[in-house]
């Protein structure tokens, strides 16, 4: 079985990256984790990303808050947090409109986990940042503009 996979990987050649991703998935069969959503992370625009996430036309909501600075001096490290007072939040995603691929990170929250995540992201330039929240099968969204003085991409 393993030998066959190795052969398949070798034969893959140009598909090395995908082969590795697949292999990584195969090595951990016991863990119930969702497949990395390649189409969502590869999407080039907000609309495409939302489509790939299955969230068409999310409603704007004041119940979702983004905690981030108004001005980020260093685009390579922009602290972004998403908080929602709503109960039963199932998933959170952070999207940055003007990045080459808008989707920065997505989180799946099992029951009992609070709708409060924080991370740090890279931003190429001043852009609107969107927080997408899934509650009871519905998608809600909010946005905040973050000004970047020094871009975090390229170099």
């Amino acid at each position: 079985m393993n030998l066959q996979r190795r052969e398949a990987l070798k034969a893959g050649g140009g598909l090395g990256l995908f082969g590795l991703l697949a292999a990584a998935g195969l090595i951990t069969p016991g863990q119930a984790r969702a497949e990395w959503n390649k189409s969502a992370f590869d999407a080039k625009t907000i609309e495409e990303t939302l489509k790939a996430l299955g969230a068409s036309a999310p409603a704007n909501s004041a119940d979702v808050q983004i905690t981030a600075p108004d001005i980020a001096e260093n685009g390579a490290v922009v602290p972004v947090g998403v908080v929602s007072a709503l109960a039963g939040v199932e998933a959170i995603a952070i999207l940055i409109e003007k990045n080459p691929n808008p989707l920065a990170a997505s989180f799946v929250l099992p029951a009992g986990t609070e709708a409060s995540v924080q991370t740090r992201v890279k931003m190429g330039q001043t852009s609107d940042v969107y927080a997408l929240v899934k509650v009871g099968g519905q998608f809600l969204m909010t946005k905040k503009e973050i000004k970047v003085t020094l871009g975090g991409c390229g170099g």
């Binding site: 799946v108 009992g112 986990t113 924080q118």
Partner: protein, 103 residues
């Protein structure tokens, strides 16, 4: 093998707050080296946290997450001394799992 993660987990009033600092290059695949050749992407794709074997967070990262990713979240339950395990997988298949006791 990558460097260990720094994980802080503290329980207070029935809610456990977790802060994780992973050690990873998070190369976007868009930067060029001195010779002008693209540096291939190398980034964490999935992060998972388990409290006593029960998953409390599943995250997927893209290339836009900063180098040495920081992640903080909260979940209900969890008492002092409970085990919290965090693991990640990157796009090259590297992975790492670290475990801490909730303080």
């Amino acid at each position: 093998m990558a460097d260990p993660m720094k994980i802080r987990a503290s329980a207070k009033d029935g809610v456990t707050e977790v802060k994780i600092l992973m050690s990873h290059e998070m190369e976007t695949g868009q930067r060029k080296d001195a010779a002008g050749a693209l540096i291939p992407a190398h980034f964490i794709t999935e992060v998972s946290a388990e409290h006593n074997g029960r998953q409390v967070l599943a995250a997927q990262f893209g290339t836009a997450v900063s180098k040495n990713p920081y992640l903080a979240f909260k979940f209900k339950g969890g008492a002092k001394g409970d085990k919290l395990a965090v693991s990640w997988v990157d796009n090259k298949g590297d992975k790492r799992t670290d475990e801490v006791q909730i303080a």
